[in-house]
């Protein structure tokens, strides 16, 4: 039996303001095993993105705990969590989040360079070739279309051979055709590299391609369905 790479236990997130407290995540528990793919779905404001942020170590929970690759994220400081992200995690965001001042190639190289690795260019070029952008290596994000930018973001996410990939609405800003290509790439590369995939989406069709779907409502996990369950949603 493969081990859990991500484990959330009684995860709670409360935002406090002067007047009131707002509980956006209410005691969420789940775990994800190596090479699994899960999607988190739910209506706007249900807490999907907050959950993703906590699981990826981008934020700190108000209660409960998150273990990522066995590391208790709650007990770590921000720089240690950054180290964990660099070593084990890949990200794909809805609005691509490429560094505007870097070329496509440089954007892809950054995570490995950050580790202190040298001669990373061949690998970055290979990945950009894999996503169909070998002719756009030296273009800046502003010179690329939305679909191309997301492909660069995918190449950047996979260059570190991440153990786990977090994707937040990866096709949310794309047209149908580009969304299709990105989905194929995402699942194809995920399968090739055996990466665990955690996907946050509104898109049921996309969610149905994962092995498991977590459904959220009002900060609670209301469903955890394994298998192809498209018709149920």
């Amino acid at each position: 039996m493969s081990q859990a790479v991500l484990e959330a236990e009684n995860l709670t997130k409360i935002y406090r303001s002067a007047e009131k407290e707002l509980m956006v995540l209410d005691h969420i528990s789940f775990s994800v095993k190596q090479s699994d793919s899960i999607s988190i779905i739910g209506p706007s404001g249900s807490g999907k993105t907050t959950l993703l942020g906590l699981c990826a170590g981008l934020d700190v929970a108000s209660g409960g705990s998150v273990s990522l690759m066995g590391f208790k994220l709650n007990a770590m400081n921000e720089d240690d969590r950054a180290y964990i992200r660099n070593q084990y995690v890949g990200f794909v965001f809805q609005n691509f989040q490429l560094l505007s001042t870097l070329t496509a190639l440089e954007n892809v190289m950054v995570p490995l360079e950050l580790r202190g690795e040298r001669n990373v260019m061949p690998k970055a070029k290979e990945l950009l070739d894999r996503v169909g952008l070998s002719g756009r290596l030296h273009h800046y994000p502003s010179q690329l279309s939305g679909g191309e930018q997301q492909r660069v973001a995918m190449a950047r996410a996979f260059i570190t051979d991440p153990k786990i990939l977090f994707a937040d609405e990866p096709t949310g800003n794309l047209d149908e055709e580009n969304a299709y290509h990105i989905t194929e790439l995402l699942f194809g590369m995920n399968k090739e590299q055996g990466t665990t995939l955690v996907l946050v989406t509104h898109n049921l069709e996309l969610a149905q391609r994962t092995q498991r779907i977590l459904r959220m409502r009002g900060g609670k996990l209301v469903d955890d369905v394994v298998g192809r369950v498209a018709s149920n949603y």
């Binding site: 934020d59 660099n86 965001f93 360079e113």
Partner: protein, 855 residues
């Protein structure tokens, strides 16, 4: 579930070993030059100002050191207001050292070629003066010629002003001299003194023929002595000292002249360097402001970097490296520009300094500029950059996410260093910790006050917002409250520049108003002095013939003090515990007698005592300030030596005197019935309305009464104006740095708000606004900004100007609304100009381009 590897083996790499941060710094900087150029520009201007001044100061100090001998013309000079006689004369005669003599006095000169006349400083020379340096004349033999007879040479400025050339004739006193040439350079001459009273040089042997030296004439005598070594100078001086002190003479050595000049220019340098310091401080604000905006814009990028594993310090280092490297480059560029500007300053100071300032480069100043630039680029960028360390990675998912405020150690240390920097720098510039602290406090007060005025003004605008005004006026005003518009910072920085220039203007106006009474109706503008008793009626008659009103005829008696409060001057001179300055004891006093107060006087203590009977004691009044110098108060006794006759008097009152008003004014005023029979001369005053009338009168006066001198106060006014023009040019030039820095900050803010403005204008155009309307909205917004900045600066300058004139210069506060208006208008115009330059791109951006981007 198995819990494995809990401990992180993460290594922190230092900034020097982390190749990634250096390459990221370069990659990122490639696309941010336009923004970082502003940061560099703010630094460049500040550093340029500091280096220019520091380098010039070093050159000036070197010049003073190397020119001191040439400026004095001898190793030792003995000065006196009385002819050197008796023991001292015998000492000079017995001295086996080369000597030369000089006598100088105020006199009128009549240019016979054009009939014009003016008051000059007549210098009569004898011997081989100067022993150091040389007299440069045109033609070259002009100086040797004056030694041969009735020849005179005159200052270049005087010759060109009155269009006098060689072989023209001029009349001084009762003698006519032929012009032998003009003086370009002479030890002890030139500089600012020649601007006030230009000199005419003759031979000492011809002085008597002028018949200028009469009773009451104020003549300065100088004996120049050349020695072979410093030891000999000291030895000679020690020999003379007892006589010098006893007779109220003074002396000057090369070292003394060097120190005196050094101190004099040091004060000027301190003032100028503090102006440069203000430019630098504004530059610092510009740096902090530019980096703050830069760091804010980089939030998103940093959040992505943190997501993919960068530590807070790594993100910080990327931008820190950019800022530091550019700061260093900016400092080098600023230092080089400063050196360039230094070459200009001697041109601006020409005529103010009595020697040519060399333009040698001071590498020490360049080094200091680079060092200071590097320090301030670190210091003032750290504070805004520290925020980068704490950008939460969650921002990539939620752009509106704002983390809790974090108090970091770096931030606290940066704040402390920032507070200490201005003190340390001002202390370095002025070579005094106390001055540094005072200046820092002054700056804090000024900036605090400017901020308060800016806050109050913006609050009032918000509170009384003109909701009923037209759309354009209303919309442009609300633009000031746009987020990231930095309206308050701009008001403070531009306001500070306006404040400096305006305060200078107020001080200048106040000083000018001290002499401007000459312009007022019924006030005297011409003073005639050295009128001998037998000339009195003749002069009055001449004035009446020229239709000139005789405003007052004042008798003047010269005397000295022989006793103060029962102690003789000799005893007081020997008493080291006594604090009465020697000059106050030994000087010649010019006193008058009357039983009433003059219109420039006010009795602030005691009363006026008139002498009713011959046996009554003599009661005199003394001017405010002099009572403190002499340490006397009401009832104290003084013994005056009036031409050898001792006269005991008591202090009856203290007068506050407005010295420049309706002269002459006096330190001591005697009652009537005491001095009438003493040797005396007269001073009278009148008002001359037209130049032609003045010329005619002066010409007749010189011909009939050659020894009587005339001061045209209008000429003094124009000289003061000229002086302010020269000094003001330098000060304005330096204040310009502050304005430029303020404008750089403005340009930065304008560029940073450009996209926001483009978006806003596109929306306006989408709903139907015309280009002309958008142009008006933007220009009016900048006009508001300029107006508020100018207003902020003006309010502070009026307050500062009042405090400076009242308590520091102790003159009447005065300002000219027109000049203040011109300064304010210039500030508004420059602000609008920058806004207009930015506006072109805003207007030329097609709406669709923005809407697509937004979509």
């Amino acid at each position: 579930m198995i819990e494995y590897v809990i401990k992180i083996k993460r290594k922190n790499r230092s900034i020097f070993k982390d190749r990634w941060v250096w390459s990221m710094a370069w990659r990122d900087a490639r696309h941010n030059f336009s923004r970082l150029v502003l940061f560099v520009a703010a630094l460049v201007v500040g550093i340029a100002a500091v280096v220019a001044l520091d380098s010039m100061n070093n050159s000036l100090q070197n010049d003073i050191n190397s020119n001191a001998k040439e400026l004095l013309g001898a190793d030792l000079v003995i000065n006196g207001e009385r002819k050197f006689e008796g023991e001292l004369k015998a000492k000079f005669d017995s001295l086996q050292l080369p000597q030369a003599s000089e006598a100088d006095m105020a006199s009128m000169v009549l240019f016979l070629n054009n009939g014009q006349s003016r008051l000059i400083r007549l210098v009569a020379l004898k011997g081989d003066f100067p022993f150091y340096g040389k007299v440069e004349t045109q033609p070259a033999d002009a100086y040797s010629k004056i030694k041969t007879g009735k020849f005179a040479m005159l200052d270049e400025s005087l010759a060109s002003q009155y269009e006098v050339s060689s072989d023209d004739s001029l009349r001084i006193g009762s003698s006519v001299f032929k012009v032998s040439g003009v003086v370009a350079k002479i030890p002890g001459g030139g500089g600012i003194t020649s601007t006030f009273t230009p000199s005419v040089y003759i031979s000492m042997d011809e002085l008597d023929s002028t018949r200028l030296i009469q009773y009451g004439s104020r003549v300065n005598f100088k004996q120049y002595i050349k020695t072979s070594s410093e030891e000999e100078t000291t030895q000679t001086l020690n020999n003379f000292k007892p006589f010098i002190r006893k007779n109220g003479y003074s002396y000057e050595t090369i070292e003394g002249r060097r120190e005196g000049l050094g101190e004099g220019f040091n004060s000027v340098y301190k003032f100028f360097s503090l102006l440069a310091f203000v430019a630098l401080v504004l530059g610092c604000i510009g740096i902090a402001s530019a980096v703050h905006i830069y760091a804010r814009e980089k939030r998103e990028e940093v959040a992505v970097l943190r997501c993919i594993g960068s530590t807070g310090w790594q993100a910080f280092n990327i931008f820190f490296i950019q800022i530091f490297v550019l700061g260093l480059l900016g400092s080098i560029v600023g230092s080089l520009i400063g050196i360039g500007i230094q070459q200009l300053i001697p041109v601006l100071l020409k005529g103010v300094v009595p020697f040519e300032i060399s333009t040698g480069i001071s590498w020490k100043s360049v080094g200091m500029g680079v060092l200071i630039g590097a320090v301030i680029s670190i210091l003032f960028s750290i504070l805004p950059l520290v925020a980068v360390r704490f950008v939460p990675p969650l921002s990539v998912l939620r752009s509106d996410f704002s983390p809790e405020r974090i108090v970091s150690k770096t931030k606290v240390v940066a704040i402390i260093c920032i507070a200490l920097f201005p003190i340390a720098f001002a202390a370095y510039q002025t070579q005094s910790i106390l001055t540094g602290v005072y200046f820092f406090l002054g700056l804090i007060v000024a900036l605090g006050f400017l901020t308060l005025v800016a806050i109050a003004l913006l609050y009032l605008v918000r509170k009384f917002f003109p909701y009923n005004a037209g759309f354009i006026w209303k919309h442009s005003l609300s633009g000031l409250f746009r987020p990231n518009n930095q309206t308050r910072v701009l008001m403070v920085t531009i306001g500070l520049g306006a404040f400096i220039i305006s305060t200078l203007n107020i001080v200048e106006q106040s000083m000018l108003s001290q002499v401007e009474f000459t312009g007022r109706e019924n006030q005297s503008n011409t003073i005639l002095f050295d009128i001998q008793p037998h000339q009195r009626e003749g002069v009055i008659k001449l004035m009446k013939e020229n239709n000139l009103e005789v405003n007052q005829v004042v008798p003047i008696i010269t005397c000295r003090l022989s006793e103060v409060k029962g102690k003789s001057v000799e005893v007081l001179q020997k008493d080291t515990t006594d604090k009465i300055p020697n000059w106050a004891l030994t000087r010649e006093y010019r006193v008058t007698y009357r039983d009433s107060l003059h219109n420039s006087e006010e009795l602030i203590k005691g009363e006026l005592h008139s002498k009713k009977q011959s046996k009554d004691s003599v009661w005199v009044t003394i001017s405010e300030g002099m009572e403190e110098n002499l340490g006397v108060t009401i009832g104290d006794s003084l013994v005056f030596d009036i031409q050898g006759v001792p006269l005991k008097a008591f202090i009856s009152g203290v007068r506050k005197v407005e010295w420049p008003k309706d002269p002459p004014n006096f330190i001591f005023v005697f009652p009537k019935g005491v001095l009438e029979n003493a040797p005396q001369f007269y001073v009278t005053s009148t008002r001359i309305k037209e130049q032609q009338q003045a010329n005619n009168f002066q010409q007749q006066l010189i011909l009939q009464f050659p020894n009587v001198s005339l001061i045209d106060l209008r000429l003094i006014l124009s000289t003061v104006n000229e002086l302010f023009d020269k000094l003001g040019l330098v000060v304005r030039f330096l204040a310009l740095f502050s304005i430029i820095t303020g404008l750089i900050v403005l340009a930065g803010a304008v560029i940073n708000s450009k996209f926001l403005r483009i978006k806003e204008n596109v929306l306006l155009r989408t709903v139907g606004a015309r280009t002309s309307q958008i142009t008006k909205i933007t220009l009016i917004e900048y006009a508001y900004l300029g107006l508020f900045s100018a207003f902020t600066g003006m309010v502070l300058s009026l307050a500062g100007g009042y405090l400076l004139t009242t308590f520091f210069f102790e003159i009447k506060f005065a300002f000219d609304w027109k000049e203040i208006g011109v300064i304010s208008f210039s500030v508004i115009f420059l602000t609008m100009l920058i806004g207009w330059i930015n506006l072109r791109e805003v207007i030329n951006t097609p709406p669709l381009q923005v809407l697509r981007k937004e979509g």
